[in-house]
């Protein structure tokens, strides 16, 4: 038996408003190692062209709910990186 190749999961990443403007896109499919966290997703997005304009610790949501950056991601998650909220 050989060691199993590290499992990966696919997630959907969404950007909005000023963040979407900086990076030039609003959504992205991303493959990640299993057991990655939201912070790891943010790190990958910040490594893209224009991504260093995002804060290291932005506001994030997973599947329509605010989550902390240590939140684990799983296959199929919708991960949103949110600029400062300005409703109302």
């Amino acid at each position: 038996m050989t060691a199993a190749a590290p499992a990966t999961v696919a997630v959907h990443v969404l950007l909005f408003a000023s963040y979407a403007e900086r990076l030039g896109f609003e959504s992205l499919e991303l493959r990640l190692p299993a057991s990655e966290t939201v912070a790891g997703v943010v790190e990958r997005i910040r490594a893209l062209p224009g991504g260093n304009g995002l804060p290291i610790q932005p506001l994030c949501a997973v599947n329509l709910t605010h989550v902390p950056l240590e939140y684990p991601v799983t296959a199929g998650d919708e991960i949103a990186i949110l600029p400062p909220l300005a409703g109302g």
Binding site: F16, A17, A61, T65, V67, P68, A86, G87, G88
Partner: protein
């Protein structure tokens, strides 16, 4: 009814929707587009949103309000292009007593501003545009979040 709407908000209809023969007090908040922000004259603005999350988060906010107070709540937020003077948000709360109506109304307004993923881009009279970024406050993340 969804929270988000791209057409004019009917304030009178929302006030009426939370009234009943047993609910004698209606507290409300109407937020209107102002003509100045940060010292610059605003011509118009555009609200955008992460719509499915706004609906989910606002449903949670109303649920939380109704666990604390015996109230009926109506909430609308407009998106798209607004002019100075247009109504951007309406929160109407009906209750048997005014204490509950006022407190729940204040709670819902505060929580929407803190938690609903909505963004505002202002167009200034002098020609520029800018994203409004309030001093970034961390929204409270519920302990039992997401799943």
């Amino acid at each position: 009814m969804p929270v988000l709407t791209s057409t004019r908000i009917d304030v009178t209809a929302l006030l009426g929707s939370v009234q009943s023969p047993a609910r004698g007090g209606i507290a409300s908040f109407v937020g209107v587009v102002r003509d100045h922000h940060g010292g610059r004259a605003v011509a118009r603005l555009a609200y955008s949103a992460y719509a499915p999350m706004v609906e989910a988060e606002c449903a949670r906010i109303i649920f939380e309000a109704q666990r604390r107070w015996p109230v009926a709540v109506a909430l609308r937020h407009r998106i798209g292009c607004l002019e100075v003077g247009d109504v951007a948000i309406v929160v109407a709360v009906g209750a048997a007593h005014r204490d509950a109506a006022f407190e729940a109304c204040r709670f819902v307004v505060d929580e929407v501003k803190l938690r609903a993923p909505i963004w505002k881009q202002e167009s200034y009279v002098d020609g520029g545009v800018g994203w409004v970024e309030p001093a970034a406050v961390e929204p409270r993340i519920p302990a039992e979040s997401a799943r």
